[in-house]
């Protein structure tokens, strides 16, 4: 995967702390302090209580593959097919879309343990990907 051709996500105002932390390889999650639950994706208010008492906490970056697909036709020049697109359920309880890298695509299965790994973006941010957690 060449870093240059990866689609680089825009930064929403609310997610600035998330993207800043990626520069140091830290994965942050929003938590609603009223509900004591994590919130994904980042937003201005908690989708359960509409409260705005959201704080950023560091995630362990570990989880399991909830669902996965091997894309046989590349959708971007950054990724050479076949590659894995997966929904990763973090141990904190939220689900993120990502890629699972670092092993042959056909070896990734639902239920596999994975951990975060980082792909550099051109502006110093890093994109969270996942790899097998052996």
């Amino acid at each position: 995967m060449s870093e240059a051709a990866r689609f680089e996500p825009p930064i929403s105002e609310v997610a600035e702390p998330f993207w800043d932390a990626t520069r140091e390889g830290r994965l942050l999650l929003q938590w609603c302090t009223a509900c004591a639950r994590p919130v994904w994706y980042p937003r201005e208010v908690c989708p359960r209580c509409l409260g705005s008492t959201l704080e950023w906490r560091e995630s362990q970056g570990r989880g399991v593959v909830y669902a996965c697909t091997v894309e046989h036709k590349a959708q971007t020049r950054a990724l050479e097919a076949p590659y894995v697109v997966a929904l990763v359920e973090l141990d904190e309880g939220v689900r993120l879309l990502s890629n699972v890298v670092g092993c042959p695509p056909d070896r990734v299965a639902v239920g596999d343990r994975v951990q975060v790994t980082w792909e550099p973006l051109s502006d110093g941010r890093r994109l969270p990907l996942f790899e097998p957690d052996d």
Binding site: E8, S12, Y41, A67, C68, T69, E71, V85, L97, S98
Partner: protein
């Protein structure tokens, strides 16, 4: 106040082609199917006082030169047209209007050949999908459906062979429909041998990309009884959505159809075993399988065994997607209109060689975006009303 039986579909039309391409496009194509649906209903444009369109009912009404008092532009992707029927039925029942038309036309196949641009317009500025999903190269729209299939397989042991059987049974229906895009029989082996797209979905697990258009005309039950063709009554109609992006879907094996279906059946006073024809949006084989479970035709997780041995094909216990479906009949991008048109034809006994004998109750179940927005219509004949 119950909506049951208060409004009816009284005219339908669709335009498709075995080549997958149509000669007209845009408003001209919309106007053609509206004209045909109005003729089918025995009504004229002068009777119309309500308009539904998935992009702009205002623009359409201006083009047609009409001044509707009911206007509906809900766009939920493929299920938009079921929602239009639901909202039109409610408006007719409440006396807001008398005659409503709805239309859909899209020509992705010929647009591509003629260089008419239909480029995906990325919404400006950060939005959740662009920020959190686009970087990962998930193929749209099949990626999210592939994720759902992978989860269903892992949780319930559903197999690629079982998914393939849905494509095989649907193709068998298409074989009975001279207007279908693909009619030659296929086997489970053919599906499994077709190129893998987003695993576990093969090419033949995926819907077509064709031109197509359709329209419906609705009116009140009272007025419907005075028209030439037998009315197709709206017995129940309900909608539910629970996410927009696939990462936000609460459970990838349960769609919001579990809610819309139960509500529509309850309104209609019928149960799945009463249904003679199921038109279940088949953007992919997994989509149709999830409908079977969520609408209650079988228990959660049992969709795979349920479809085995052609249960949903011609001669099967549950005729599903009798026109050949999005998998073999037509799929211009938003397939929901064609579910309504085929349901009406079956309930009027106009389906020719593919007619389900004595069909009295049909379900048109639309699915929009990425398993996001489900809308269920329970439709019935005069006989089903009493």
């Amino acid at each position: 106040m119950s909506m049951r039986g208060r409004a009816a579909i009284v005219g339908v039309a669709d335009a498709v082609s075995p080549t997958g391409e149509l000669a007209t496009h845009g408003r001209a194509l919309e106007a053609r199917v509206i004209r045909e649906a109005l003729a089918d209903a025995g009504l004229t444009l002068a009777d119309v006082d309500g308009v539904c369109h998935g992009q702009s009912s205002v623009g359409l009404a201006e083009y047609l030169g009409i001044h509707p008092r009911f206007t509906e532009s809900t766009n939920t992707g493929g299920s938009s047209y079921e929602i239009h029927v639901e909202h039109a039925a409610a408006a007719l029942a409440a006396g807001l209007c008398e005659v409503v038309i709805g239309v859909y036309a899209s020509t992705p196949r010929s647009d591509r050949r003629h260089g008419r641009s239909r480029e995906f317009q990325r919404p400006p500025g950060p939005n959740p999908m662009v920020e959190w999903e686009l970087p990962y190269g998930m193929r749209m729209p099949m990626g999210p459906y592939a994720l759902a299939a992978s989860r269903h397989m892992a949780e319930f042991g559903t197999t690629s062979e079982q998914l393939a059987q849905i494509a095989v049974s649907t193709r068998a229906w298409a074989g009975l429909n001279p207007r279908a895009r693909h009619r030659e029989p296929i086997t489970v082996e053919d599906v499994l041998a077709s190129p893998m797209q987003s695993s576990p979905l093969h090419l033949l697990d995926c819907c077509l990309v064709t031109d197509g258009a359709g329209a419906f005309v609705m009116t009140t039950a009272e007025r419907a009884r005075a028209l030439p063709k037998p009315p197709v009554y709206v017995l129940g109609a309900a909608t539910c959505h629970d996410h927009s992006m696939i990462s936000q879907m609460p459970d990838l094996t349960v769609t919001p159809g579990a809610v819309s279906g139960a509500n529509a059946f309850r309104q209609a006073g019928v149960k799945p075993s009463d249904v003679d024809v199921l038109m279940g949006y088949d953007s992919f084989t997994i989509t149709a399988l999830l409908h079977l479970e969520d609408l209650g035709f079988c228990a959660k997780g049992e969709g795979g065994p349920f479809v085995e041995e052609g249960r949903t094909g011609p001669g099967g216990l549950l005729p599903m997607n009798t026109n050949g479906g999005g998998l073999s009949y037509t799929h211009p991008g938003q397939y929901g209109m064609f579910l309504i048109v085929e349901s009406a034809r079956q309930l009027r006994g106009e389906a020719g060689p593919r007619q389900v004998r004595g069909a009295e109750i049909a379900v048109a179940h639309g699915s929009g975006m990425v398993l996001s927005v489900m809308s269920t219509l329970v439709l019935g004949t005069e006989g089903a009303l009493s």
